[in-house]
């Protein structure tokens, strides 16, 4: 009966006739050699013996007498899915095929505008010493908002650090962004991390951490747990082209595929990892070509085409949820800003390159032109929106600056679920120290 079940599994998985070795792996309950021998003797005659076919792996394959060392560079480069050209004209189908009404598109465009406004002002704020650090999102607004708009509230999201549009769309508003960037007492993270490392339990958005790619295998695990609960949810996991070189990428892809995890791996291929261009990051056909190696479905999309990203994410989500399978989306885009405020990209790339992208393939401009073609938008509304966003950002920044930093005792909280004795003693020691020498510190900045 055990072998019958095994054959069923094998046929379902398409691995052909199970080998004797596979059969034996099920026999964990036999802990005496005699019992094992007895089981071996009773195996059906049509099972292949390992002595006949050495090391046959679990996939079926034919044999060939033609010797060829296969060259993958001969394969055609996988095309990127695009729905709208760089001038906002739909390339095929009609506006109805977008499955987005005008109101939604305008809302998405507004969110892209919010990203731009926050980016611009926080960048300046850092240069003026008002904020310690910032990472821009310029150039990736469409892939952020387009993908986020295709997800459901019950989906869980893991991010890298360049997904501000995803947070804003989900409901992590500008004020919360400002609080986190100012590391004040209103920050959900209690001021413990660098700016732009957001997280929010209510929105199912896991707190960002600086180490790259660590979120990928975590996303696979989270998806596995959600799958076990039979929820209509998937996990969305963002990462960049550089992060895809880390070992955790391989671990995550392999685990997600072998364990059937409903996760969308969304790669923001923006051409640069700080100063390292993609030509120095990988030799294959981008990140998407790797999905095949893991037996995983995937697609490449024009990351600057908000509608293509939205549709691709929608389809990927449907597949991930219905089939409980992972899928890889590679969104091709361009990082228009520096890596961060600690970087000066003029030292390693030409301004002509930046200009080209700004003029020829601007994600925000493409949506705007599309909306203008539909007579839903004009330059007056554009100016109005920009003014409104700028005002809102400045207001949020001002409020955040006036808010006190967290109580200093928060240094010791949340290391463990319950504070251990050692930390309680350290906390007390610090309190005593500050009572004596508090004037040496700028204590007025902190909540007391």
């Amino acid at each position: 009966m055990l072998f019958h079940r095994l054959v069923q599994t094998a046929v379902r998985r398409g691995i052909g006739v199970p080998t004797y070795r596979t059969f034996c792996s099920q026999l964990s309950q036999f802990d005496s050699a005699q019992q094992l021998q007895k089981a071996k003797a009773s195996k059906p005659k049509d099972v292949l013996s390992p002595r006949q076919e050495n090391d046959r792996p679990s996939t079926t394959y034919d044999f060939t007498t033609h010797l060829e060392i296969v060259d993958p560079t001969k394969d055609p480069v996988i095309p990127a899915y695009r729905v709208m050209d760089t001038n906002g004209t739909l390339l095929r189908g009609s506006e109805r095929d977008l499955l987005l009404d005008e109101k939604s598109i305008v809302k998405m465009y507004h969110t892209m505008g919010e990203v731009a406004a926050l980016d611009h002002i926080l960048m300046q704020a850092q240069r003026h010493g008002r904020v310690s650090f910032h990472m821009q999102n310029a150039g990736e607004e469409a892939l952020q908002v387009g993908s986020a708009a295709a997800l459901e509230p019950q989906d869980h999201i893991f991010s890298q650090y360049r997904e501000l549009g995803v947070f804003l769309w989900r409901g992590f508003d500008m004020q919360q962004v400002a609080h986190q960037c100012l590391s004040n007492a209103e920050d959900l993270g209690k001021g413990k991390q660098m700016p732009m490392h957001f997280g929010c339990g209510k929105l199912n958005m896991y707190t960002i951490s600086s180490p790259l790619t660590t979120q990928l295998p975590q996303a696979a695990g989270c998806a596995y747990a959600l799958k076990r609960r039979n929820t209509d949810a998937c996990v969305m996991c963002y990462f960049g082209d550089g992060a895809a070189s880390e070992g955790d990428f391989h671990a995550a892809m392999n685990f997600a595929s072998t364990l059937d995890c409903p996760v969308i791996f969304f790669c923001r291929n923006n051409g640069w990892a700080i100063s390292t261009p993609v030509s120095e990051q990988y030799r294959g056909d981008g990140i998407l070509s790797r999905a095949k190696g893991y037996g995983m479905k995937g697609l490449r999309v024009d990351g600057n085409d908000m509608f293509a990203v939205h549709e691709a994410t929608r389809e990927a989500r449907k597949y991930a949820v219905n089939q409980s399978r992972p899928v890889l989306i590679e969104a091709m885009s361009y990082r228009r800003g520096h890596h961060s405020t600690s970087d000066d990209s003029t030292t390693y790339r030409l301004s002509e390159e930046l200009d080209w992208w700004a003029h020829n393939d601007c994600p925000a401009k493409r949506v705007r032109l599309h909306l203008e073609k539909r007579d839903v938008w004009d330059s007056e509304m554009e100016a109005e929106m920009r003014t409104m966003h700028k005002k809102k950002v400045l207001k949020c920044l001002g409020t955040a600056e006036k808010t006190l930093k967290p109580n200093i005792s928060e240094l010791f909280t949340d290391v463990y679920a319950e504070m251990p004795e050692r930390l309680k003693r350290q906390q007390n020691d610090l309190e005593e120290h500050l009572k004596k020498y508090g004037t040496e510190y700028n204590l007025s900045k902190y909540q007391s």
Binding site: S25, Q26, S28, Q29, H156, D187, L188, G189, K190, K192, Q193, H197, G199, C200, G201, Y206, T207, S209, P211, T214, L216, P217, Q218, A219, A220, G221, C222, A223, Y224, A225, L226, R228, G247, D248, H250, A251, A252, N254, F255, T258, L259, T413, D414, V415, Y416, A417, E418, P420, E421, R422, L423
Partner: protein, 298 residues
């Protein structure tokens, strides 16, 4: 009454002895709570005790899952024997051969609120997972302001010398993880300790690295109480009382300390106090301090 207050009114050695009894009272296991009925036990070695703990954990909470390399057929050290047959492929399964994946995956499961038990086949191979353990699991709660945590995660791994293991099947890397605040490091010295500590670790609200002394998997045999019982984390145990010197250790080394203490008593007339830390991080400073105040020598 605080240590300081007591110290003021009693002579040093007596203080220590009085407080010993008070602080070092072992939290009695659930089954022994009433102290009246004889507890039903079964002879178990360490891997059978671990197996029993895993079985009890999986029985009481559907969110407990167990995975790692070769876990499905029972594990290379037989700790997971029978569990896949009992709980199915969804809850007890093999993962690909990738420690950073095993722990990273486990962190994700825990962050989603479930209770993953991730097995690393040998502690010698835990290093690819070091980034995930130190930078992620240990810091998940702190860095998110308690929006998220990986409390449900337990990483189990056999550690320590076994005689023939060489450089890569014998390592004791527990100290590396003692310097990652946020993760607990727990090491049992015997089957009954292993079962109680593992159950506490699995259901602890903090991520735990649980190191099982492989030398003791088969060699350490005890009558282990049946049923669910917990041994508290963060608490050391005075395994033997003594007056002259305090010996602190954990895991397989406790037996060595006991043998050394016997020799010291017989040959040198020195009475040794032996403390098993059990939880290495955060460790029970009070119990060790008390002991050293009594003996004067660590």
């Amino acid at each position: 009454m605080s240590v300081v207050a007591l110290r003021k009114c009693l002579p040093a050695r007596r203080t220590a002895r009085v407080l010993y009894r008070a602080i070092n009272t072992e939290v009695k296991s659930k089954v022994e709570a009433d102290g009246m009925q004889p507890v039903e036990t079964r002879k178990m070695n360490l891997f059978t005790a671990v197996n029993d703990a895993l079985d009890l954990a999986m029985k009481q909470d559907d969110e407990v899952i167990l995975f790692g390399e070769d876990v499905k057929f029972g594990g290379v050290f037989r700790c997971a024997v029978g569990l896949n047959e009992k709980y199915g492929n969804e809850r007890v399964f093999n993962t690909p051969l990738c420690e950073q994946g095993i722990v990273g995956f486990g962190i994700g499961v825990a962050a989603a609120g479930a209770i993953p038990i991730a097995e690393i086949q040998f502690a010698d191979y835990i290093f690819p997972a070091f980034d995930q353990i130190v930078n992620e699991a240990a810091k998940y709660r702190y860095r998110s302001g308690n929006e998220f945590n990986t409390g449900g995660l337990t990483i189990r791994t056999p550690y320590g010398a076994v005689g023939h293991g060489g450089l890569y099947h014998s390592q004791s890397p527990e100290a590396f993880f003692c310097h990652a605040a946020g993760v607990k490091v727990v090491v049992p010295r015997s089957p009954s300790q292993a079962k109680g500590l593992l159950l506490s670790s699995i259901f602890s609200p903090d991520p735990v690295v649980f190191m099982e002394p492989k030398w003791l998997y088969r060699t350490s045999v005890e009558e282990v109480p049946l049923g669910d019982y917990r041994i508290p984390l963060d608490k050391a145990e005075v395994v033997r009382e003594g007056m002259d010197v305090t010996l602190v250790g954990w895991g397989a080394q406790i037996k060595v300390l006991e043998a050394a203490a016997d020799m010291a008593r017989d040959k040198l007339a020195i009475s040794c106090e032996i403390i098993d830390l059990r939880t290495l991080s955060p460790w029970d400073e009070d119990t060790v301090a008390m002991s050293v105040e009594k003996t004067g020598t660590l």
